[in-house]
Symmetry: C2
Subunit: 638 residues, 2 copies
């Protein structure tokens, strides 16, 4: 009897689609769903931590370990976490509609960032287009096509060596003859003079733009600019939710997911699909084809870069936190499955360390911090918080795991900063009633990062929150907004009747605890870094805030909860998506690209995880705004 | 109604296998056979020139253009050429058994050539194995794996740059940890000091040989040596019939075949399959795996090199005879489908011109002609004849299309130099009876190149052949051996009762005409080259003969028919397979490899096809031994 015959198999039916499958006993419902052709989001990577992969058992039997994410009521109704519950017999499983799936490709005007060439970099793309006229061969001058082509190109652009790879060499003879020995070619000049690598053969059509793409691969969003490499002009910008979000909301969850069988390949494919979708939209806007894109520069954190290349990120997560590569080699688009010219070079900006990636290198590059004569603090706060401190003489960098709370995960009604998200909260000091501002002026659906910062600050300043970050139990009942809920005390931001989803939108003690831990991690990292280099907060002359997160937050509120240091507001500058800007700079300027390497060499990395003092700083920052209230003079009087 | 429905389709059944297929009206029987899954040999590439793709129509109707290859008797019996006859109704087709198919992989002791490192080249392979011990990462020393690896390798072999391609980078983290940071690596050092490219990661196993392969890709045979790159030792040699022979016996036929739909891809696959089969046998002899082969150097004529790389050879055949590339780029084995280490560099020795290929470069390299102080004539006679004349100061080269007559094609009982081939003929001057010598002392099956030279010389010297290369009609009947056959006068070398195939083995006026044209082309090329550089035959101090052809021929007979110039026999040296020797030299010596490029630059190519004087020389050489009998003083008295 074969092994297969001896195993008991059960039938799973998934409603409402009716998709079914036969599976062996004991497998996860999540895997059963995959085998039936369904995709269930697992923002925490299937660790049972986020509680987002809920399904309901309609009929049949599953084994279901206890999980704090499930309320008693949910358990009674048959809800289980599909990443934890295992098949124990035939079953019918209800999969709730994915509210967020339609958001996967979201385009907002804000993503159309026309990034300028900053910091005085010289415009000089490493990919160029050259027009050639070859003399046709004849008896007495019948050198081979390749040698004839190399000679013509060398005459034109003065390089010592011309490399032509096999796919183009196969077409060279027919293209040269079809075009009557007059062609345009795109060449990649990796070293600025010695070598040229042919990457495309084109008919003569001088007027078409020479397309390049700058891509910011964020943990949450992928943003790209389409650029004309002839002049550096940004032709368009677009963004999409990183499809990897389905497989983990933060880098740690994705690293865990990558260790599942096939997980790495899946994450790699998901980010490639996302990039292809963004680029497809961009080229369509220009009536061009993606295969015309001749070069790509990407910036992403170390894990994103690993996943794009298909490199295992496992050791990024394990002490001593070692990536496979900081300077990843330039690869060709075809090696990754990108839908651009298969021979287009794909250059990833180099990382500094496991948790300080190419996005931060890009930030330092495009913010001009590396040449600033003022002591500058650069912050990029997303799912992770990365910090750079320094000026043109020295730079130090560190990172902390901030967690995805400000991005909507681990918060009961948390959501991303899209239409329906509460982005600003004001609390009336006498009635304790909130006034909310919702993105798109829509009915509220949940609360996004800036809304959380705002809510925390207002609740704290109005005494609803204690300095320890707990809802004051004595306030319960003083207003109908403050009450005990299923998960402890909570404050109601919007009533069910006003909300888009027909339920009360609340912020709970558990949410607040998550948010406070996040802000504490960031602030602790800042203070510890300053301490290590013997610099006091007030010495900081400029605070540059990059990342999508930085575009929406209210500085005053952020200071009030102790997320940002208490400095005069005019020292803060919001730079927008510095990762994208850095990628753009490296795309159009050889000088900027070379400088990115120098920046990485110059940045001293401070490992906070290895520093026992970090835990002390973190604990001290768990208060609102901070244990050392004297560090927040602007907040103290209130 | 769809297009398919509107087309009339007929059933073809192929006997004896019974394979059948439905085909549209009008397609070639050859293509019908392919569609039924049969392979029919087409040595001339399907031009209807060689008459080797005979099939017999048992039942049904085909349209069959007249073809001089078919005798009246054959036509009556239903024989047609499958490359010419077209389907005109349902039919049953008899495909005769392929006598020669079992010969496709032939191994002979003679192919195990232990080629020495000649001409004083320094032993220095460009692929080397290096043992590394890396310090494991720890907090405070947690550089990325790639950077750690690059540092360790640079410390060990003093290169400026270490390139690691994506496939290896994906495995780097796990391999380093699995092997506890102690590994052997193979590196490719293309430029002798600046750059190292990683091509394999290995566990420590100092004793295994470091495998490389030198391959001669002949139009007819592929011969390879397996080499230990640690010391240059030849571990084994093997050969196989180039499977492309099924698709054309000479380069012209293959070029024509390559222009059919899918033809180029098929020819590419056939030579790759052949090389893989040869290498598979070689590694099995050593109890190793083909994937351990870390580098390959190939030498072949320009068309063979094109077909190996999948480059279209079309323009090699058309005036002004332009290859796609003379110096083809180094490619990786995976780009070609070779079953060795996918990242192994594959280096092809450079060509000089459309008809002077890497095999000739290899010949000049391994024969030391380039450093000789004696005026040397180098001949490589196969399907084409290539000639180099010169010494250490200057070299001139040319080529002529000799045709495959000496290799058995275009000759009624022609065959390759394998068991059953008549390789030597002596004719009794009084009885005119022949004495034959057969390879393997077997019953004769046909006659190979050396046998043809020998037969021609003996028939000529004994008056059976006129100086014009025709069987003397007055001799017919003087001996039963000399008679009129279907295709004109013929001489019987073996009677049906002695032969292996039960038919008289003859050499006909048509055969003789083909052979005389072949020898005339070679001799005309030699004389015209000498004339162009103002050198007389007697000035030639040494004649080096390379190629498999050169190993078997009898110098005396070759001079007697005017194939080789009439020089003292001690000036002739047979070097065996100089193409393979050259590939071996380039495999184990960076110096030799560099010299191959210099040789190509130094060789002046003389285009004989463009030279109107060639036709005069050719016409003059159509006599036996030559119109200018005074150029053959040793033959004149006889």
């Amino acid at each position: 009897m074969s092994k297969t015959d001896s195993e008991q198999r059960f039938r799973l039916v998934f409603e409402p689609s009716g998709q079914d499958t036969l599976v062996p006993s004991g497998i996860l419902l999540l895997d059963g769903a995959t085998s039936a052709g369904l995709t269930i989001d697992t923002p925490c990577g299937g660790q049972g931590r986020c509680g987002r992969c809920l399904v309901r058992v309609e009929k049949g039997k599953v084994s279901n370990p206890n999980n704090p994410h499930l309320t008693q009521e949910q358990l009674v109704q048959g809800w289980v976490l599909s990443c934890q519950a295992r098949v124990d017999g035939d079953a019918v499983i209800h999969v709730p509609p994915k509210k967020e799936l339609q958001e996967i490709v979201t385009h907002t005007a804000a993503t159309k960032v026309a990034v300028p060439l900053t910091c005085g970099f010289a415009f000089e793309p490493v990919v160029q287009r050259v027009s050639l006229e070859l003399s046709p061969p004849k008896l007495g001058d019948n050198a081979a096509d390749l040698e004839r082509f190399q000679r013509a190109l060398q005459d034109k652009i003065r390089v010592k060596q011309v490399d032509v790879s096999l796919p183009l060499l196969k077409n060279l003879a027919s293209v040269l003859r079809d075009l009557d020995w007059q062609i345009d070619v795109t060449v990649y000049l990796p070293d600025g003079g010695y070598k040229a690598e042919l990457i495309d053969l084109l008919p003569r059509r001088i007027k078409a733009p020479l397309l390049g793409a700058a891509v910011d691969i964020g943990t949450t969003n992928v943003v790209a600019n389409l650029v004309d490499l002839r002049n550096g002009k940004v032709l368009g910008g677009s963004s999409a939710r990183n499809k990897q979000v389905l497989r983990g909301e933060d880098v740690i969850s994705r690293i865990i997911y990558s260790q599942r069988p096939g997980g790495l390949e899946e994450l790699h494919s998901l980010v490639v699909e996302t990039i292809n979708a963004v680029l497809s939209e961009l080229v369509q806007q220009q009536n061009r084809s993606a295969s015309e894109i001749q070069e790509m520069v990407v910036a992403g954190n170390t894990t994103m870069t690993h996943l794009l290349l298909g490199l295992p990120p496992k050791h990024i997560r394990e002490e001593p936190y070692v990536p496979t590569a900081s300077h990843v080699p330039v690869v060709r688009a075809r090696e990754l499955g990108l839908a651009v010219n298969p021979l287009a070079p794909v250059h990833a900006l180099p990382s500094v360390a496991a948790y300080v990636g190419g996005d931060i290198t890009a930030g330092v590059l495009s913010s001009c911090l590396f040449k600033s004569n003022r002591l500058t603090l650069f912050l990029d706060v997303g799912t992770n918080g990365e910090i750079v401190l320094g000026n043109s003489d020295w730079m130090i960098t560190s990172a902390c795991s901030a967690g995805p709370a400000f991005e909507g995960a681990g918060v009961r009604h948390g959501m991303r900063a899209i239409t329906g998200a509460i982005q600003e909260v004001r609390v009336n000091s006498s009635t304790l009633e909130p006034t909310i501002q919702v993105i798109g002026d829509a009915a509220p659906h949940g609360i996004c990062g800036s809304g959380m910062i705002s809510a925390l600050a207002e609740m704290f300043l109005n005494g609803i929150l204690s300095r320890a970050g707990r809802i004051d139990r004595s306030k319960i009942g003083k207003s109908s907004r403050i009450r005990m809920g299923e998960l402890g005390a909570e404050y109601v931001l919007a009533w069910a009747k006003e909300s888009a989803n027909g339920e009360d939108i609340v912020i709970t003690d558990v949410d607040i605890n998550n948010l406070v831990r996040t802000k504490a991690a960031i602030y602790a990292a800042i203070t510890l870094m300053l301490k290590r280099v013997g610099i006091s907060l007030s010495d900081i002359e400029e605070v540059l805030i990059g990342g999508a997160f930085g575009q929406h937050i209210n500085v005053e509120h952020a200071i009030q909860i102790g997320l940002l240091p208490d400095l005069p507001w005019d020292r803060f500058h919001f730079l927008g998506n510095t990762s994208l800007s850095g990628a753009y700079n490296a795309l159009v300027s050889r000088q900027a690209r070379a400088l990115a390497d120098e920046i990485v060499n110059k940045l001293t990395y401070l490992e906070l995880i290895a520093d026992s003092a970090f835990m002390d700083e973190f604990t001290a920052a768990l208060f609102l705004p901070h244990t050392r209230i004297e560090d927040f003079p602007s907040v103290q009087p209130r």
